[in-house]
Each structure stands twice: as C-alpha cells, then as structure tokens.
Symmetry: D2
Subunit: 336 residues, 4 copies
C-alpha cells in the first residue's frame, strides 16, 4: 500500500500514523519529493482499512499495491481449490456442466428437464425457486414449493441441485440443497455472505452487474473469512452500454480470476447475453478462456415456453453445446 501525504503536513501527525501502522505490524518506507511525500507500506496490509487512512487530514491519496483479499488469493494458496459436490468435482482440472430451467414450474417440468440435461452431459441440476425480478408484478418463483420439486428431481435423477437464495432468513429451507447460488444483485449482500460463511455448503457466487473482479473476490473473502472455503466464482456478464445484448460476458475475467485466485470459475453464457443463439459461441469462448464449468439454461417445451427466458436452449441444443465444448476442452488440455 502506498500513502501519498499532502504537502507541508504536520510531522507529529505523520509520526502518529507511522506508529499506528507499526502497531499493526507494518513497516513504513518514506520517500520525500519536491511536491509530495510517499509512504510505502510493507507487510500484510489486507487488514488495513484504506478508508480510515484516506480520512486523515494529512493524506492526499491511498493506493493499494497488493490485493486486499487473502483467503481467496492464489499468492497465498497456489494450489487450485477442488470442490466435491456429491462426487462431482469442480476445479483443479475438473469440469462440470450445470443445467436446467430458469424457473421451476411443476414436478413434471423439472423432472423431465433434469433427465434431458443429465443425458445431455450435465452433472448438476439448476432451477430457480426464488426468483429476483426487477418488477414486483413479475413472477417471483414457486419459492419453498419449488425447492421441494427440485429435491424430487434430485431423487429421480441423482443429480445434485443448485438453486438461488435471496435472503438469509430462508437459509433453513436450503439445508439440503447441494450448491447455494448467490445472485448478481446479492453479490454485496454482506449479511447473507457472512451467514453463508458459517455453513459448509458449496456456494456459487455470481459477479454483480457493475462489480469488478476485486469486489467479487472480496465477496468471496467474506464467505471464506467465516470458515467456508467452498466458493465458486461465476462470471455471468456485466452491464455495459451495449444494448443488443442484455449483459456483456467478460471472458477475460474467466482467465484472470483463475490467475488471481485458486477458486473454481464457472461461466453462465445464458444470462450473459440473454439470447439463446449466443449461448453456444459464449459457452465455447468461456471454455477456451479456461472456465471450470458452464451453467446453462435449458427448457424442453419451446411451444409453451411462456415461463422461460429468451436465453434457454432446447435439450438437443444443449447436448450439441456439450459435445463442442468437450472438443475445445481437449484442445486446451493438449496444448498445456
């Protein structure tokens, strides 16, 4: 961390700061220039609150040099984290397909799609029971009943289930869910993250619509700081000025998150574009960039698809994407 001091600062206040930092185990190297003085902070600064320092009257600017996250940081944990979900491993070279409908609608629907995506190559079943919707007038999901139907589908197919939590008060309902998903709008719902940190559930943490990779990793850090290290990061598209697509999938984030962190990275090409015909190219791009898994929306009844988003694939399209993605994965493996 680098602290830039204002010109003509009171030396005793500078000493106060240096002493306080020393008490946190941080060494301070000082460089005096004509127009500014720079303090170089050497040591573990991840626990230093930059806002506190910025707030000091003698400080002009604070710049972090090293990352503020520690548990999620590959520097301190060089080996890939591998997460085991009912026998299906993700990370460390292990790749999984997570597929299913946007929303759970009925037992018949979810069980039938579960079978379809299983035979198409998916190991995990996704399905929304609690649905975050911009409008209070839009369908909000089947909620607790939807969770029940997901469990039913798991019983029938043996597939572990992935579903989104919207509030920590629902945590009891998610007790036997296999992977708890935190949606983009809740990426900085810090109370929820803390609560998840005290469970031992694998968490699929989606990147917020306008959040940086560092903020995503800090949210992972919230969960990990509580003791739960089973976090999967999910790139699902960020908000940009582009309006031909719903969001913009940040494919460089997939590669870079894997460099910065040891956590598995999942891509969600369905939500990234919001257009079913872009799912295939984005899925392949995500695999080419090094993703550890794909999460894809699939529905089985396009003729009555009133309740599925415009981004869902049909089961046979999903199967095709899996086949092609596997071919790309093999190339990536061969070349490394």
């Amino acid at each position: 961390m680098v602290v830039v001091l204002k010109k003509n600062t009171d030396e005793s206040q500078v000493q106060n700061l240096v002493n306080w930092l020393a008490s946190l185990g941080i060494d301070v190297h000082r460089s005096e220039g004509e127009y500014e003085t720079i303090l170089g902070l050497i040591g573990d600064t991840s626990h230093v609150d930059t806002d506190l320092i910025s707030g000091l009257g003698i400080v002009d600017a604070v710049k972090r040099i090293s990352e503020p996250y520690k548990n999620a940081n590959r520097k301190f944990h060089p080996d890939d984290t591998v997460i085991d979900i009912a026998g299906h491993k993700i990370g460390g070279g292990n790749f999984q397909y997570i597929a299913g409908p946007c929303s759970v609608e009925s037992e018949e629907q979810i069980c039938s799609i579960a079978k379809d995506v299983k035979s198409g190559g998916a190991a995990l079943l996704r399905g929304g029971a609690f649905k975050p919707r911009t409008s209070p007038y839009a369908f909000q999901g089947m909620r607790a009943e939807g969770l029940e139907l997901l469990r039913e589908a798991r019983k029938e197919t043996g597939m572990p289930i992935v579903t989104e939590i919207m509030d920590l008060s629902h945590l009891d309902l998610f007790e036997d869910v296999d992977v708890i998903q935190v949606g983009a709008r809740n990426m900085q719902n810090f109370e929820l993250l803390k609560a998840l940190g005290h469970t031992d559930k694998p968490v699929l943490l989606k990147r917020g619509l306008a959040n940086t990779m560092e903020e995503l990793l800090m949210s992972a850090e919230y969960i990990m700081a509580g003791g739960n290290s089973k976090v999967m990061l999910c790139e699902r598209g960020i908000r940009t000025f582009e309006n031909y697509t719903r969001n913009t999938m940040d494919v460089s984030a997939i590669a870079l998150l894997k460099e910065k962190s040891h956590l598995p990275v999942i891509a969600d090409p369905s939500h990234a574009a919001g257009l079913s015909r872009l799912v295939r190219p984005l899925a392949l791009a995500a695999v080419a960039a090094g993703a550890d898994g794909l999460m894809i929306e699939v529905h089985n009844d396009p003729a009555h698809a009133l309740c599925d988003g415009p981004q869902a694939l049909r089961p046979e399209e999903f199967k095709e994407v899996v086949r092609e993605a596997e071919a790309v994965r093999n190339i990536i493996k061969d070349f490394r």
Copy 2:
C-alpha cells in the same frame, strides 16, 4: 408496449399471443411492414412480464413505451407525496437537512454531533450502526449497540433518526427507528423491499451504483406494492469511469425523478463524491436542481477522525452549507 414479430411467423401463434393479451385487458393494434410486423399494446401493461413475451419463438423484440411502475408514477398520482417524520415534513415544497456521522462510534460522539448538526440546521439525525463494507476486515459498525446510541441521541435532542438496515432479519431492531435507510447495494434486495412494504415506516431508498432511474422507481414500486407509500428516493452518485471522485452525482436524476414520480427526492452529496471539499458545490447543485432534502455527513473531531470517511464536513462547514443552500432554495422558490 410494442412487440416486434419475426418475419414469416405462424399466424396461429400470433393469435395465441393476441388472445392471451386480450385476457389481460390489453388491446393489440397490428401494423404490417415489408420486413417486420409490429404489435402495439394499448392498456395497462405494467403487469405484463416482458421477459415472458421476449421468450416466445415468434417475437423479435419487445419495447416498453410506458413506464412499468404505477404506484410511484406521477402520471397516476399528480400530487407530490409529503412524508411527515415526527412533525418534519419532506416533499411538496418541504425541505429537510439530514446530518450526522458516517458511523456511530460512542454515545458522546453521536450526542455531541447531533447537537451540532441540530444547531446547524438539521432536522433529522443520520448515523450508521450497521455498515456495509467491501472488505470483511473493515469496521462493520456497532450494530445493535449503535442503534441504542442513536435512540439515546434522539432522546437528548428530539431529532428523529435515520439509519441503514442491511438485512430483513434485523427488522425488529428497527421498530422505533424513524426512517429506515436502504443502501445502494441493497436497492435490488427484493425480499428486504417486500418486507419494508409491509411496515408503515418511512423508507429512504438509495439508488444503486449502476442502476437506472427506472430500476430505482421499480424498487420503490416493490415497497409501495406492499402498502407502504412513504418512500423517499435518494440520489447518492453512480459508478462511472471517473476516478478522481468515488462516484458521480447524477444531478439530472434529481430533476427527472421529481418529474416522473411524486415521491420526495433526497440528495447525498457526501457519498456522491467521497471528498469533503466537493460537498458544498454538490449540495448547492442538488438544491438548484430541485431536491427535497440533503443528507450530509458531519463529524466533530477531525483530529481523531480515524473512523470517519474523507467526505465528512465539520459542524461549522455544515452550518455554512445550510446557509448557502437556503439562499439557493429561496431563488428557486422566487422564480417559480
């Protein structure tokens, strides 16, 4: 709402859509062109789920023409909403100053600042007990104890208190808080919004960092749909590419929200810029643009301000801003 159909669509599917819309009380006007067919939907479309329609195979695009919010819409409620907070009115020409520290730190601190800002012109006291922080290692606020100290300050000064809720599971703790603040990161925490809709508490709803005015109004709609119409909208700066300031205050939003909605609009110039020296110009700009109130961070001990952000004013600076803001308000009033 306008629905653009794909070319060469199956007529029976179009009829299904038209019939379904008719069942919702919506008239459909059809325009056939060489390259596309446009359906104009006439009627109350606020309850129509655009995602459902976009998902249909025959549909190319859906464009909303009218606003998807109804309770918050000035078209349907032309008169300004006036919210009464323990005798202090906001909206409909009534203007209030809300001031206090970023975080509650001690009884002495909050009571002393409360007296300072009251004498400087503030009617309401703000102070953070639960603090949303990007890092799990940063100070998270005094939480329940902080709320207790705020109540203490209210008892001493008579000022109603405004403080942020971070999770609906804390709602009981906020029972005698005068105004519940929803922070930017929770603007789309829909479960929290729904819960607040079932209380009768005034809610100060902050705009999310990368959210549009329409999304802010839809979040207000969530609260209002539950029966609670005491919502104040708060512009607190949006995320842009600019990095000299923490956020960018969208001053046009202040003027436009008041046009689109009947709800009061509060500006928070402290968080908007994150720099105390910008609070004055931004506060005046917000008043000039028509805000119904200002929320300003004030601390009283800059020498030991380790726990206040770099955006706080000292009490005498706050007083000065109030005096100047009042002068601008008088001009605005004179000219209308």
Copy 3:
C-alpha cells in the same frame, strides 16, 4: 420506428408529421390508447433523422425498431462479404492472422518481426507508424518514416501491411498501404470515415472504447455510403469498470456483429486486455465465438522491449497461439 405522441396533441400537427413521413415513403399506423398514442412507421426508416422527430413538440419518444444501417445490414445483404488483400481473403469462412509490433521502431526491427510472424502463421503485417497517445509527451510513432519501413518489410516478406491513419490529411501517405486501420478513438471521426468511403482501400474499423455495436455499424455505414464496401469490423475491448484489465473484450459482439452484418469481424486480443498473458485465452475465445481473423501484437526482443507495450507476445508464443487457434477453428468448422 415507433413514435409515441404526447397526450392531447394538436391534431393538425400530427397530420403534418404523417404527411411529411408519407413524402419520405413511410406508412404510418396509428394506435390510440388511454394514456398515449403510438404511431408505427412502416417502410425504409434508415434515412429518417430520429432527432428531428424527437424535437417536435408533440412527440414524447421515438424508438427505432429496425436497424438504422442498411449497407452494413445482413438483412439486405445475406451473403458474407469476402475481402481480398493481395490474395489473402478474409470473411466468408476465410480466416487470417494479422501480426506485428505495436510501433515500428527501425528497419531491422520491423523486418525481423515480419519474418518471425510470417513463419508463425501470419498473412498480414501490422505495425504502428502514427501512434495515438493520451499524453503529448509519449512517443508519437515514427510517422511517415515508419510507413516507409513498413513498405520495406513488405518488400522483403511479401506480406501486405496494415497500419493506422490518424487524420485524413495523411491520406496521401497511405496510398499504397494495403489495409488502413481506423483506431478506437477515431471510430466517430466522421470526416475521416467519409474520406475513406471515397477510396477503394480495405478499412479495419476498430470499435470505440464506449461505443455500441450499432454505433460501430453506423460508422461502417459512413464508409460504405461513400462507395467503399471493404470494411472489416474490429472488436478490441471496451471500457468497463474493471481495472485488472485495460479494456474488456466483448466476445458476444464478435458473434452478434456477424449475425447483424455481412462484414468480416476481426478480434484484437492484445489491446483488449493489455496483458500479454491474456492474449492466448482471449484469442481462442474470439475464434470460438466465430471471428474471421485475429490481430496480435508481437515483438522479438523482450530484453530491450522498452518500446513495446505490456501486451506483446514473443514470436514463439505467437506461433503457439496460431496452432491452438487453428485447432479450435477446426472444431468450429466440424460442428457446423
């Protein structure tokens, strides 16, 4: 195009508008609702100036339904455009690698890199002679002399050259350049685009840092409207809030531009991330998404690389990327 009228508008003014549109060959379908009147404009609206209509006192909003570009639009030109550059074809299934240094530095440097990238698989040589730099104090390129050295490298290797023009007053200097590149900051330099429209040079048009696909296609339209249809679109990363990477490559744009337009799409993974170690994953992702070519920065002397950006590959790394990209291309081909 859809025009939403204000409530209680003067009928004679509406008739004026309808008559004016009729004179442009556009049919107007009118839908009357309780709160608004919608005019559906049917016909070729690409020549209608939406700003003119928005400016009318009776108009509430104008929404385009169909694309405002015509020459660049696949709807009107279903077949892929194939551009032939000295025998090297791009588009319509033809794929090329464009490689070379960020800046031309010396005859030895450019000729040596040209040979390296040619043997690594590149058909075209890129190299900057005129360099757009944010700072007036940064190296501005060798300018005319750099063009001369590029011609020298072409003579030695037979590779056609691609280089950036910064102002139309330099057009004479580019007379025997094979492909003229328009940089991101000049994407809406309309006078330059018009001038290029009157040449018969292939143009590589880079997407601006904060521009939409539609704006990129409108800039292509400027060139094409002048009679030059040899335009290649280039995705080179857009500005987002992310700061771990210089820009964010919009991989969905690669797939979607090819759907919306018949023009070839080139990806520039070097500038997209600004980090050499991300070039490989982004290059493969771009190929997986359907790009017609890759433009990659290569330098041959990392030990003295003071004049190359942090995004350049060494020749052997470039060769490796080409091999891997070819493998991905083969999969894409096999599956279609």
Copy 4:
C-alpha cells in the same frame, strides 16, 4: 509514480531501470517487502511513458501518484487563466453565456436568434456549421456556408462566434472564428489537438462521452504543449447506463476541474440531458458548482423546429434561465 516489481527479479535489470530513470532526472526510493518491491519515483514524472515501464518484464504494476499533465495543472499555475474573447472575459471570476441554435439553417434564422440571445444575456453566439452525426443519412450541417452565415450574424450583432471544427483540414475556414469548439467525439483526435496548439485561437474543448477528467486535461495539455494556452474545458455530459437522459452531466467535474486546473470550465446543460425541460435545473446546478460559463441551445421557432434538437430553449426561456443563474451566481459570490 510508484513501480511495483515482480518477485525474484534480476537485479541487473532493476539497475538498468534505475539508471534510465536517473538519466531522466528522477530519483528512485526503494522499499523491499516480503511479497513485493516498490520503487518510489520522485521528480517530474510527467514526461515518463508509463506504458514503456509497464512493458518491462520485471515490472508488475505502475501507479501514477502525481498528475501526468503540467501546463494544465493548477499546482504549477495557481492563478486562474482568464481568456479574452473580443473583450468578453471568461475565467478568474468572469462568467459568460454562450447561446445559439444547434445548427445554422439560414441567414434569417441565425441573425434573428443571435439578436434574441444577445438581448437575453448571451455574450457569445454559438451555432453548428459542421455537424457530427452518428448516421451518414442525417443532416451534416451547412458546413462552409454555415460559417459564412455565422460571420454575417457577428457583423449584425457584434457577438463573437463559437463553432465546431471536425477536421484539421478545415482549419483555414476557421481563421476568423472567435472560439473553435472541439466536440466530444474529437476530444482524443490528437492530430487536431496538435494543430490547434499551433494556433492562437481560444479553444472550447468538450469532454468525451466516456472520458475521465484526467484524459480531458491530457487533451488540453496537447493543445497547450504546442503553445496555445487559451483552452476552455467543457462538461457536456458523459455516457452512463441511464436512458431517461441522453447523457449524465457530471456536476462534480465542474468543481473538481477548477481545483485541478487553472483553465476556465464551461457547462453545456443542453447536450448533457438532451431534454429542454432539464436545461434550467442543470444550468443552475452547474453555476452552483462553480462553472465559468454556460453554453445553451436556443431556437426561435418551435412550431417549425424540425431542425433543432429536443434540447433547445425558446428565447424567453433562455432569458429566464440567465436571470435565475445570475441570482445563483450572486449567492456563490457572497458566500466566498
């Protein structure tokens, strides 16, 4: 400037870097930590090319501490720049109104509006002759003929004229224009900026749609580095996700640019919002934030306003805004 070195770097390469920096007159202070080494660069680093340093194999990151602009920097030029335009001063406490139509349409139109805005309080006349338009099919302005008509209006009213240049090849045509405007899309047209640096014309430099204040100041630096210090900075709204307004006026930029630089700052509330009814609140907000001038679009014939944008005021509305803005200016002055 701070340079963060990679771990385990070759000491001789570090020495090369230190020696090279020393040759530029820059002192290097070195801080060794467990995970990284930080070099603090002390001295005038405005001429150091950060990209060159980032490109070195031994470097992990480069962070600027001090601003890269020098001529435009208030640190080195504490006094306000005052620009005199035919006797009308801007900056250093001098405030001017610049008004006129979006486009010059006819002699009658421009002369009539000129008289109107003069009597309403404008000192300078604006009017577009060369118009940058997203679509090649939109009206491109009267070009040279429009400049002629502006000169005519100047002759009739004595008002100096402000008009936009789109390409440096037109520079001759602007010889007797009083203020040359550089539009948002040309803010980083570096060849144009250089050419303007070699004239002695006052330049009104508009901020680009997605550019930071630092980039705006660097573009001013381009002009000033050539010897022309008569630069006015113009905030005209930036692109954000908001779609109720065309752009978002960054009111904090007005205050902050005046702190960072000694150059005058003009606000353009007409283009910022793109809605005439927002011009008044935004104009007042800009004045409250400390602007040195306002540039406002005015047309005089709303009934036939087919050629004016939706953001133009009528002359009587302009007069009203001037009166109100003057009242706000007086408050600002009284309080300082």
